[in-house]
Symmetry: C2
Subunit: 227 residues, 2 copies
Amino acid sequence: MNLAEVGNLVGDLARAQMLTALLDGRALTAGELAWCAGIMPQTASSHLAKLQGAGLLAMEKQGRHRYFRLSSPTVAAMLESMQVVCAVDAPRRIRPESRMDRDLRMARSCYDHLAGVLGVSLADALTDRGAVDLAADGGVVTPVGRKILAEFGIDVDQLSQQKRCFCRPCLDWSERRHHIAGALGKGLSDRLFDLGWVERIRDSRVIRVTPEGRRGLKKTFAIDHPA
Amino acid sequence: MNLAEVGNLVGDLARAQMLTALLDGRALTAGELAWCAGIMPQTASSHLAKLQGAGLLAMEKQGRHRYFRLSSPTVAAMLESMQVVCAVDAPRRIRPESRMDRDLRMARSCYDHLAGVLGVSLADALTDRGAVDLAADGGVVTPVGRKILAEFGIDVDQLSQQKRCFCRPCLDWSERRHHIAGALGKGLSDRLFDLGWVERIRDSRVIRVTPEGRRGLKKTFAIDHPA
DNA sequence: GGAACACTTCGACCGACGCCGAAGCGTGCC
DNA sequence: GGCACGCTTCGGCGTCGGTCGAAGTGTTCC
């Protein structure tokens, strides 16, 4: 397998839509993916066979359904980096407002961390008070930030010992700005779930901010998250 | 611009070969790129126009030559992550031995750090003596490693304060194993150049290990780099 | 057993795109 | 000026692959 083959696999609109739908790590049935891509089941079937054959997708049978998911975080990372290039190359364009995915824009999961307006606001808040310092290729937590995060219930030392990139800016495709990924991003996300400030919406990447979370975000980070 | 468009751009063999040739950050002329891709200049011209139009490549006129390079490290990162997926998906295959790119396999630059047998050996040496601990998504330097690297002339604290990913495993496409990227990868590379242990070959990604470097690598890291 | 359902396989159609030859444009060298 | 050179534009050719209808396989439910 070479670069061109991988590019080709992603380079079809229908397949790209399927992959995007799978980007949050959930597994979807062939039918659902066909619907996502706006094509007939038999067409989807051939696409899925290609993606699976190339090892981008993993499949699991369950009764008469076939569930597909991204085969590894490596694939998710690749798609993410491709989306970043998309967003960077088209920095200024009229934002196509769509009612339907307003919720998705507000807050969603991006593999294992938070994205959307919420994710970006959180990154902004931490940057504004000098807690983290983000650059193109990574980021650091300042001594001040260490203290702020500790008060919020996040042990930076423990996170930084994980064998993964500690802090990484991840370009948000809806907001065209960065949110925080890496161990810190996951840590923040986990903490918000633990506190009950946010919760997942079934069968969706959408994340709901609870009333309690709205109060907490306002008080702790001065974030006014829209209802 | 969307995911599929980017995929499509990379998804052509000729374009993929051009992009790969540009992956070390150098700028090449349209003619050189045509040669790399094994196509006629007029065909290359249309490919390059597409890549440039999409913002993946930047162009600079110089006399009657046109120099093309990757427009940003973001693009390089994307290509790298795509190559990783290529390599992961095809883990075991008969290695196609080619005399021509033996040098390239032995040691080369990968954007801003070292790759090839040399890069992998270095990563192995550091891992073996417990200096670094690499995982799928990142890596850490142990206290022991901090000491080893300090003796070698690398200030880990300074590197870790850079606003980029500190240590990241980068899958080596020729060796199918990891070498070290990120700030640490660049730090190692810089140090080897400063010591005069390695040097660039003009107009190529190939890196030559000097006799002095061969001795040094053997003594310091117990690496027997082939001549 | 039979019907509904999820999905796959096969075959035919057709549009998109990569390819090169020929010709045109701008630059540098003698 | 004249020629060589690097590159681009244009036009026609060929092929590859995405598309869907029809038919087939396997599963669930009654």
